[in-house]
């Protein structure tokens, strides 16, 4: 099996100094694999992802991304290194056009690279090409999610992290989003996501981590987690997630 491209060890992070929400979380993600983090509300899943993306206060622990120590480094350096991040809320610029959103996605690229990536993205997502001058604010939930993912892919990241990519989407669109993630993994991208929609997410994942109270609770293959009675009772069987 190939070496992990994203290795986090004992990450302690939060919003207020001295009051961390993640109390030491560790994960590995390998190229071409989809890893899903599940856990109850308030487990620190989102905060952990934001810590890896350089968006919240990183207190201690180490993160290695693509062979480099990036612990606590600011977002723009991580992006340049080859990390992509799709936040849960506010994942597109509503006041900017689709085209401008994609240009922002390619902010770290040279003008020439930007041009070829834009052309490729429009080819890949005809819907975005069609509506390129529409502002982000007028898109439907599914279109937004497509734009958000397309935006994050502008830099050809080798690791992509998604915070609840299917929140608020209709079942059909959820399927499309998951299929596109599967496609990315097949191209060798390492995919790490946080999902409330745990059952559906685990079905397309290779491995999963269970977080609770800001700490690792379980780590196993996605298939094992799906049949694990404890996990099932806590996170998969509840009516809230019975999609």
């Amino acid at each position: 099996m190939s070496e992990p491209v994203l290795i986090a060890r004992d990450v302690v992070a939060g919003y207020v100094p001295g009051m961390p929400i993640c109390h030491g979380v560790s994960i590995d993600v390998r190229p071409g694999e989809i890893v899903t983090i599940i856990g109850p509300n308030g487990a620190g899943k989102s905060t952990f992802l934001k810590a890896l993306a350089g968006l919240v206060l990183f207190e201690s622990g180490t993160v290695h991304c693509l062979g480099q120590d990036v612990s606590g480094r600011p977002s723009h350096e991580l992006i340049q290194l080859g990390l992509g991040f799709v936040p849960q809320t506010g994942n597109v610029f509503t006041g900017l056009t689709i085209h401008e959103n994609l240009v922002m996605g390619g902010h770290t690229l040279s003008a020439a690279e930007l041009k070829t990536r834009l052309a490729r993205t429009y080819e890949q997502f005809p819907l975005l090409a069609e509506r390129r001058s529409a502002t982000g604010g007028v898109l439907s939930g599914g279109q937004r999610q497509t734009l958000a993912v397309a935006r994050a892919l502008m830099t050809d990241p080798r690791v992509i992290m998604l915070d609840e990519p299917t929140a608020g989407l209709s079942p059909r669109v959820v399927g499309e989003v998951f299929a596109s993630l599967r496609g990315l993994a097949q191209e060798g991208v390492a995919v790490l996501m946080v999902e409330q929609n745990a059952k559906a997410a685990l079905r397309i994942s290779d491995r999963g981590y269970v977080l609770a109270e800001g700490r690792n609770r379980m780590a196993a293959s996605a298939a094992d987690l799906l049949v694990d009675p404890a996990v099932g009772e806590a996170f998969l069987g509840g009516k809230r997630h019975a999609r």
């Binding site: 723009h76 991040f85 401008e100 240009v103 830099t155």
Partner: protein, 300 residues
């Protein structure tokens, strides 16, 4: 009479608009109302004055009261005022940002910065009114009943050019795009790889340059005094609020509305109360449209 008031209103409005664009940019990108912005106008005007004292305002170009050296001084003062704004940011606002101070703490700090900057001008350049040139100008009749000085025509023209230029930068350049992106969502801009501090720096440069030019225009059409910027502060803040958030042209329209209202008000109320007009407009607007004239209603 009305025609002249309108022409004067456009002139004042143009100057206010340049100030309001800066306030609006900084309130969107830096997320606080900068009460010290007006002092950048004053500094810009006095930096240009210092340059013209060394070089004189130059041999007048055509009907204008000044020559090329003042135009060069405009450029120089713009750049230096931008640099001044960055220095202030380094010393004060960036430290507060890195501590995640709330936006009202930034406003308090801007009170202090305003006091310091304004009184440094007084200390360095003295309290007396000063002028760029002593050339006398004859107002020409532009339209029937409307007389403007050539300098005023120049100021109006250059303001229009600047606004259009800035619009193009914000609309099409990658820097402009990242400024708009930052205004909407700093977090998302960061995960696009935008270096926040770079955008902040450029925001100060743009705001500072426009402020300097507004200050020079004000000095050119009126006079230079240490409190010249402070006296425009309320009008500038009002113009920025009128324009609402998010729109460059909003700030321009806000500036014009305030400028026109001030000058037209003289036809109905005593001129002494002119300075209260922005406040009246402000209260009306905030009462009926807290999001500004053009702004969309914000969802918090």
């Amino acid at each position: 009479m009305i025609g002249q008031a309108i022409a004067d209103g456009f002139l004042t409005g143009g100057i206010l608009a340049l100030g309001a664009i800066g306030v609006s940019l900084s309130s969107q990108i830096l997320k606080f109302a900068n009460f010290s912005h007006s002092e950048l106008l004053t500094w810009g005007a006095y930096i240009a004055l210092t340059f013209t004292m060394f070089a004189t305002a130059g041999a007048p170009i055509g009907p204008l009261s000044f020559g090329w050296s003042l135009l060069f001084a405009v450029l120089l003062a713009g750049v230096l005022t931008g640099v001044l704004a960055i220095i202030v940011d380094r010393l004060v606002f960036r430290r507060l940002r890195s501590r995640h101070a709330n936006s009202l703490t930034m406003v308090f700090a801007s009170f202090g910065v305003a006091l310091i900057l304004r009184n440094l001008v007084l200390l360095i350049w003295g309290p007396e009114a000063q002028y760029y040139t002593s050339e006398l100008q004859i107002a020409t009749e532009i339209l029937p009943g409307i007389r403007l000085l050539p300098d005023q025509v120049f100021v109006l023209g250059l303001t229009i050019v600047l606004v259009i230029g800035l619009h193009l930068i914000l609309k099409y350049s990658r820097l402009g795009m990242s400024m708009r992106a930052m205004a909407e969502s700093p977090a998302l801009a960061r995960v696009c790889g935008v270096k926040i501090e770079t955008v902040v720096r450029w925001t100060w440069v743009v705001a500072g340059m426009l402020a300097a030019i507004a200050g020079i225009f004000s000095g050119l059409t009126v006079q230079l005094r240490p409190e010249m910027g402070f006296n425009l502060l309320l009008a500038i803040l009002t113009a920025a609020i009128l324009g609402g958030s998010g729109s460059l042209f909003g700030a321009v329209i806000g500036g014009l509305v305030v400028g026109l209202a001030e000058n037209l008000s003289v036809l109905v109320i005593p001129a002494n109360f002119k300075a209260a007009v922005p406040f009246m407009i402000l209260i009306l607007v905030l009462y009926f449209r807290p999001q500004g004239l053009l702004g969309k209603s914000e969802t918090k």
